[in-house]
Amino acid sequence: MWERIDARRLHIDPAERRARLGCGSAEPLVGENECAEMLKGAADAAFCATRVPVSVGNGAVSLGGELIESESLSRVLSGCDEAYLLAVTLGFGIDRALMRATDTYGAFLADAISDCLIEAAADEACSRLECKELLTNRFSPGYADLDLSVGRYIISATGADRLLGVRFTHSGLMTPKKTVSAIVGIKRGRK
């Protein structure tokens, strides 16, 4: 499954915004609205996902044939026979936009808002997953004891390397920078 996401229609969650900006006020900061519009224009958001069989046991999960040791993921996927592997990105336009920020305040603002946007894009992607069953929350490599290296498997299995251009740095970070890889469990039984 591969789909584009119209970044201009993404809605930033107020709680996410407060957390990312470290700011208690609901009033927009100086330049915040303009920055958000600029970033939405620069984004080339898209996601890809693939549905894989799941089996859980002994603190490990078999995910589409890949054995992943993780107590926390085992808990998230208990009661699931299948899961979606998900990769979502805002694209390289955002990376360029972040580099263009000419002062530290602007750079901070752009970074925080693009963090909000990728979360919103991931929420949007989850809402589009074709599924008659209930889904678990997204669980990403790096959460709790789920190793970051699992991200490589998700990117490869979803085809995000080809379809979204996602690559890894030498130290295992994803590019484009605002990219999320995640596992979403599909619970037994209908919605």
Binding site: C23, V30, D95, A107, G165, S171
Partner: protein, 790 residues
């Protein structure tokens, strides 16, 4: 005996093979196993796939080397030998050509990733240098999603092989590559680099790829390749399947043949059945050879810029001549000023930017290389590389992401023999000055004769005529009444011969008062004479008004929309200035506390003569920063407010520094770096801003910095404080290594660590002297350390 591919290409349609992976799955590829590994354990299977494609009608088979490179496999040569062996055996006696398949490295190049451009060239070269001896007939660089990585691969192929180079990229349905390049931009760069064929593969299936094929054919003078996927992949019953069947696929190949594709084949999901059906369908369509376009085109990493359609404005401001601030910035190695100039010129309407770093007391090669890289990190306008030194031009042309303007060559033998080979190798549109060893001729005929001499050499070196723009040179009217007329008449004469023309417009008024009056009038007349490209100052309202007025008057500005937009923009600016007229901020301290940058600058400028630098710093700026810092720690202010205050303080410091050099320096030096392996630097940049706003001299080493470089910088600068940042758990080890090395090499420096992944106990464990939970904490810890040290 098969003909050399170069003799065949462009004379008939060639058929490429299709996908490899899905066929290998059917033939026993294990789950998670890379196709190249199957090639090592079962080369006969790879050979059978090649044979199947040849039997289906493929003229070109692609080696099973897509995923093989020296980054992934230390024993990559064994893989290459196995893959080429299988291809040779299959092709033997059939007349099929063997394409040596080169895929992406798997890493993104800087600045978007962490792989250095020259390292990427080396990785590609490691493999490509074996292609010819192992029996390949061509190099196929394919499935590239990034223009810069594509250039690295093509350069490696040019420097390590004599085989023809085919390049095929991945485009999305918006018609762009993942990193933003359009088909036209790719064609400009790749033809400049001398590739034999360009095209697309993979992507989103043939229906969505056809519009991109049309654009490639419209832009390219070389044959175009069309090898799309069999649709979008989906997983059904545990298997990857594609939604376009062989017959439907063949219909699209028929369309591609009708449109003028020279090489057709397939990518993921296609099989010999698809290729066979495509051969049958397209056979009845007569071959259409590519047409020479003859357009003068440069490009950035996103878009192409055609010279000769509408007048092109090249911003002239990144040139140290007569600009003391730029000179000072270059001598300090500070490129922030340059980046600001780049962005502001584009904002004012420049289509491209001239870049000249010619200062006698700096390393021009190193500065040009760094400058081009940094400018291209933030600005997507095509660049004009400007230097009198061929080695500087080469350094920049090599790493430039796109096809640059090259400024310049003249008719002297030395210039022609040193610059034209660079244009031939790296691609570019060269500005050719109508002058030689004897200077600039006084007459139109003299300058045109030089232009013709240059053009003869251009042909001799194999550079395309359309890649030359003549600058007939403009001397000041202050020194000769006929100077402008001769230049304008030369423009007309060159245009009559079908050549493109450029001018450095402002030279015409050198030595006169109110130069913009003369410049803008001359510019308008030159445009009327046919000028294609002007190197001007985009910040000059007179020049840009002349430009926009000409565009409107010559019918190049539909409904005068750009002209009107410009007038509205100027009006809005005036209105905003008026709305800010009632000033409420009356002291520098309040301006800094409130984060009012413009007010801080104004008030600092007003107060320095009366109060003096030290009183302003210690009496207003530092107390204001302390107050915001305390509010931040107490939860009454947030990071954005802290940053705005620090920005305002830094801006005020700049003003004070201009008035009283050295006054803002607190005498302490801090080295900052994000450790090796970590490409996040927003936190480190915030720390830098805070330190600077407190008057520290900050040496910022950037991100992804090796431990050795950190130690060298601390030793050479004599810094008392080193700040290290790491965001990811994967880079804590790198942080520990850096601390260990610096402690050993520079035991007197105090090391403060921070970043999302760090804690106080972890800082202690790795041997750091201090831990800072945030930026203001870093400044306080540093101040405590320095006070204790005293």
């Amino acid at each position: 005996m098969k003909k050399d591919l170069r003799e065949v290409l462009g004379t008939r349609r060639l058929i490429c093979d299709g996908g490899m992976g899905s066929l290998l799955v059917e033939r026993g590829l294990r789950a998670g196993e890379a196709p190249e590994n199957m090639g090592m354990r079962a080369p006969e299977v790879i050979e059978s796939v090649h044979r199947a494609y040849i039997e289906a009608g493929a003229d070109i088979i692609t080696t099973n080397t897509f995923g093989v490179n020296s980054l992934k496999y230390p024993d990559y040569i064994d893989y290459l030998e196995a893959a080429l062996g299988a291809a040779r055996r299959a092709a033997s006696g059939t007349g099929a050509y063997i394409a040596f398949d080169v895929g992406p490295t798997g890493r993104m190049l800087k600045p978007l990733g962490d792989l250095d451009f020259e390292d990427a060239v080396s990785v590609f070269a490691d493999s490509i240098k074996h292609a010819e001896e192992l029996g390949a007939d061509l190099i196929l660089i394919e499935t590239m999603t990034d223009m810069y990585e594509t250039k690295a691969a093509v350069l490696a192929a040019r420097e390590n092989s004599t085989l023809p180079i085919f390049v095929s990229n991945v485009y999305d349905e918006s018609g762009k590559m993942m990193t933003g390049a359009t088909p036209e931009a790719m064609v400009a760069m790749l033809e400049g680099l001398g590739v034999a064929a360009v095209g697309l593969n993979c992507s989103l299936g043939p229906s969505r790829a056809l519009p991109v094929l049309g654009r490639l054919i419209d832009a390219a003078s070389v044959p175009v390749i069309f090898n799309p996927n069999a649709g979008v992949p989906e997983v059904k019953d545990g298997k990857t399947v594609y939604n376009v069947g062989a017959d439907e696929y063949a219909e699209y190949m028929l369309r591609a043949a009708e449109m003028g594709a020279s090489v057709i084949g397939g990518c993921c999901g296609t099989t010999p059945g698809y290729i066979g059906a495509s051969v049958a369908k397209s056979a009845k369509i007569p071959y259409t050879p590519p047409v020479l376009k003859g357009k003068t085109v440069v490009s950035s990493y996103t878009h192409a810029l055609v010279i000769g359609e509408a007048p092109v404005v090249v911003g002239e401001r990144i040139n140290p001549t007569g600009k003391p601030k730029l000179k000072a910035a270059l001598r300090e190695g500070n490129l922030s000023y340059v980046l600001g100039e780049a962005l502001s010129q584009v904002d004012e309407g420049a289509d491209a930017l001239d870049v000249n770093f010619g200062l006698p007391d700096i390393d021009e090669v190193a500065m040009m290389r760094r400058g081009i890289f940094e400018i291209q990190s933030v600005c997507d306008a095509p660049l004009q590389i400007d230097s009198a030194r061929p080695e500087v031009l080469e350094a920049a042309m090599r790493i430039y992401n796109g096809k640059p303007l090259v400024n310049s060559v003249c008719a002297s033998a030395e210039s022609l023999s040193s610059v034209l080979p660079l244009v031939k190798k790296y691609g570019g549109v060269v500005i050719a000055l109508t002058m030689d060893e004897n200077g600039i001729p006084d007459t139109v005929d003299g300058r045109v004769a030089i232009a013709e001499r240059i053009m003869e050499c251009v042909r001799m070196y194999g550079v395309r005529e359309c890649d030359v723009v003549f600058d007939p040179l403009c001397l000041t009217v202050a020194s000769g009444d006929n100077n402008a007329r001769v230049t304008l008449d030369t423009v007309r004469a060159l245009k009559e011969r079908g050549y493109k023309c450029s001018l450095g417009v402002s030279n015409v008024s050198f030595g006169l008062p109110e130069r913009d009056v003369i410049n803008s009038a001359f510019y308008t007349v030159a445009l009327s004479a046919g000028l294609d490209l002007a190197i001007i100052n985009p910040h000059s309202a007179a020049m840009m008004n002349a430009h926009r007025a000409y565009m409107a008057l010559s019918g190049r500005d539909a409904a005068c929309s750009d002209y009107v937009a410009r007038v509205i923009k100027l009006g809005a600016t005036d209105a905003s200035v008026r709305s800010q007229a009632p000033l409420t901020i009356t002291t520098l301290r309040v301006a800094v506390e409130k984060g009012m940058r413009e007010d801080a600058v104004r008030l600092a400028r007003e107060a320095v003569p009366e109060k003096g630098a030290l009183d302003l710093i210690n009496g207003e700026i530092i107390p204001a920063l302390d107050a915001v810092g305390l509010a931040f720690e107490g939860g009454r202010a947030y990071l954005p407010q802290l940053l705005m205050a620090a920005e305002a303080a830094s801006a005020a410091f700049e003003v004070i520094k201009e008035c009283v050099p050295g006054a803002t320096d607190n005498g302490h030096t801090v080295v900052l770096a994000t450790v090796k392996g970590d490409i996040h630097d927003i936190g480190k940049n915030i720390v830098k801003l805070l330190f600077e706003s407190y008057g520290y001299k900050v040496l910022d080493l950037g991100r992804d910095v090796p431990a050795e470089r950190v130690a060298d910088a601390v030793r050479e600068s004599g810094a008392e404080i080193l700040g290290l940042s790491a965001l990811m758990t994967t880079t804590v080890g790198s942080m520990a290594d850096t601390v260990r090395l610096v402690k050993r090499e520079c035991p007197r420096v105090k090391i403060i660590v921070g970043g999302a992944v760090m804690t106080e106990s972890l800082a202690r464990d790795i041997g750091a002297d201090g831990y800072a939970p945030d930026a203001i904490g870093g400044v306080k810890v540093a101040a405590d350390m320095l006070a204790f040290g005293k």
